[in-house]
């Protein structure tokens, strides 16, 4: 059976929203959940770009290089060029590009706007097969090494919470807000086949 049911959808959405509203309006005090103590929350971390939430600790470029060779090189490569894991450095100047045949090179160096994100991501997810196993000192050190190879911090840098939040990433101002829905130009009145046509199967 076919029904062209704009009305049904309107009714359905009204029902949905009124159901949600009545749930909220009629809520008794349910006294569920318990207070979470700071000790329970100590294992969690989520730094903000201004450095709030970054843990204590520090690490040097040299220490980071040693950890990288041990923990990161298999996936990210001897020269941070990537492999199984993402490429980490290079690519500056490649983001302005309108060539559909040439891919931009998006790396920590060329694309990531905040150094705090690097700390956060390495700490929570790396190394890939043993996530969240590096100490805070080790994560600061690895971040320092990557940022120094990216020529963003000097080779003798020692990073800690306050220094990391002050690092100015090359693409810090590379992001703009979402302005959709977009205004599109009129559709072509003479459509045609374009691009390489995928070959039909054998």
């Amino acid at each position: 059976m076919f029904t062209t049911t704009r009305r049904a959808s309107v009714i359905a959405s009204v029902l949905l929203s009124s159901a949600a509203l009545s749930v909220d309006a009629a809520l008794p005090a349910f006294r569920l959940g318990t207070v979470a103590q700071p000790s329970e929350l100590a294992a969690f971390f989520s730094p903000l770009p201004d450095g709030r939430g970054l843990p204590a600790g520090s690490g040097s470029v040299a220490q980071g290089k040693a950890i990288y060779q041990q923990q990161c090189v298999a996936c990210h490569g001897q020269n941070l060029e990537g492999g199984i894991g993402d490429r980490l450095i290079g690519g500056r100047g490649s983001l302005v590009n309108s060539d559909p045949a040439k891919a931009p090179v998006k790396t920590v160096e060329s694309y990531w706007p905040y150094a705090t994100t690097l700390f956060d991501y390495v700490k929570r997810t790396m190394p890939f097969t043993a996530p969240d196993s590096l100490t805070n000192d080790q994560v600061y050190a690895v971040a320092a090494y990557i940022l120094s190879e990216a020529k963003i911090v000097p080779h003798d840098e020692v990073l800690d919470a306050s220094k990391l939040a002050k690092v100015k990433m090359p693409n810090r101002d590379g992001f703009i807000p979402d302005r959709r829905p977009e205004k599109f130009p009129p559709a072509s009145k003479t459509p045609q086949l374009r691009g390489a046509v995928a070959a039909s199967g054998k």
Partner: protein
């Protein structure tokens, strides 16, 4: 990456073409002759030797098929069972190869779909560190940051709270990323399979936020998963209070492990990555956390070198699922053109279908229910005259937004490399039906 996806799709197709139960079977009235000839030419027997055609498909068991099922007893009813599908049904999620099976994705086989619900076992997957195994009795949801009272909730407690159910889609914003600059993957599973619809049941997020008390300075909520990636995304507080949901149910049972068991954050109409699976913590803050997934990924790089950030909404999109890429029609005659349309901004108002590449459009029938932020099934009866045709669908949502052609979309976003801006490709899809009945993925605009 595109190369690997193509290889995986080709493997799926080569198995499906030998499988009489697949829509890609090359054994219809037109295909059989070619199929036989090529089999003979290859010195092969017609009895298909592929794994698919001989083994019971996942989710089924192989039973002997009687000549007349009405003359013998069938399989007995079991005292306890979960249920199996028919051994004759072969559709599966396909993982299109990535460099590791732990950070990877699988696609919903939309070409098989009927109706609007995606079976839970076929809901697309995207995970960054595999599927964690979580004991719900030990799982807790913590809420901290800019709240009046930091709290934690067990799953048992959450399930006691007033719940709602909502049939709703999730679409990965990378759905179709291979299709920006040229037609690449061949099947609708490959081009559109990162969208799925389920009925989700859970507690409105506002219930929990009101319970802990949101401080006036709080503007964003960080959602964090309990997988090896500890996946995190920042969500605007207005959205969190409006319609987000802490879901524990999917299609009438507990959420599947790969979909976030025991708790998933639903962020209606926003990109799939924000629907944090295995949700373990919410942290309220006055600023977005700028996590990796909202800076280096899920941002849309334009040709200017600037990238659009926090492009959350999934815009209106539709696709014809049958006939679709790599199917082989049995010759001229009657066909029902069918597909799905959806919008992250609301309900689908209209779907138009063309068989001549956009010169003439017909209004398709919408199957009820037509729900906001949900797959909507459309259908159009059609007599194929056997001549070459370009099949397209175009949808309009209830905000008045009209699904653009690829040409219109590229005119605005540009093509920064072969994958363009990667995310949020919602253009009209074109399928070319050749006079020999073959359907292929093309760009036509």
């Amino acid at each position: 990456m595109t190369e690997e996806l193509l290889v995986a799709e080709a493997r799926m197709l080569s198995e499906s073409r030998e499988d009489p139960r697949s829509p890609y079977f090359r054994g219809g009235t037109l295909g059989r002759r070619r199929f036989m000839l090529s089999s003979i030419a290859a010195g092969a027997t017609v009895a298909a030797s592929s794994r698919r055609a001989t083994a019971a498909p996942p989710g089924s068991v192989q039973r002997e098929v009687p000549t007349d099922p009405s003359k013998v007893l069938g399989a007995p009813l079991e005292d306890e069972s979960y249920g199996l599908r028919s051994q004759f049904e072969t559709e599966v999620r396909t993982r299109f190869k990535t460099s590791t099976p732990h950070s990877s994705w699988t696609f919903t086989p939309l070409e098989h779909g009927c109706g609007i619900i995606t079976p839970s076992g076929l809901h697309f997957e995207r995970s960054h560190a595999g599927t964690p195994t979580i004991d719900p009795r030990k799982h807790l949801l913590y809420v901290n940051g800019m709240v009046n009272q930091t709290k934690k909730y067990s799953i048992r407690e959450l399930r006691r709270l007033p719940s709602i159910s909502r049939i709703m889609l999730i679409e990965c914003s990378g759905n179709g990323l291979t299709e920006w600059s040229k037609p690449t993957l061949k099947t609708v599973q490959g081009t559109h399979g990162l969208t799925s619809t389920s009925e989700w049941t859970g507690v409105p997020l506002s219930t929990i936020l009101n319970d802990v008390g949101v401080r006036s300075a709080a503007k964003w909520v960080l959602a964090e998963g309990n997988d090896g990636a500890a996946m995190t995304r920042s969500i605007p507080i207005a959205k969190a209070m409006k319609d987000c949901m802490l879901a524990y149910g999917q299609n009438g049972e507990a959420i599947r492990p790969e979909q976030g068991y025991p708790l998933r954050l639903m962020v209606p109409g926003y990109e799939g990555n924000m629907h944090i699976k295995w949700l373990r913590r919410l942290e309220l803050s006055d600023a977005p956390f700028m996590t990796r997934e909202e800076t280096s990924k899920y941002t849309d790089l334009l040709t200017s070198g600037k990238a659009v950030q926090f492009s959350f909404e999934m815009e209106a999109k539709s696709v014809i699922t049958s006939p679709s890429g790599e199917m082989l029609l049995d010759g001229p005659g009657f066909y029902e053109i069918t597909g799905i349309a959806w919008s992250g901004r609301g309900a689908i108002k209209q779907v138009d279908v063309t068989v001549d590449g956009g010169r003439n459009w017909k209004v398709a029938l919408l199957q009820s229910p037509v729900l906001p932020i949900c797959h909507t099934r459309f259908r159009l009866p059609w007599q194929w005259d056997g001549k070459e045709a370009i099949l397209q669908s175009r949808c309009v949502d209830d905000t008045g937004y009209v699904q653009p052609t690829l040409g219109q979309l590229v005119a605005v976003r540009g093509l920064n490399g072969p994958l363009g801006s990667i995310y949020h490709l919602n253009a009209i899809q074109s399928w070319r039906l050749a006079s020999d009945g073959r359907v292929s993925n093309v760009h036509y605009y």
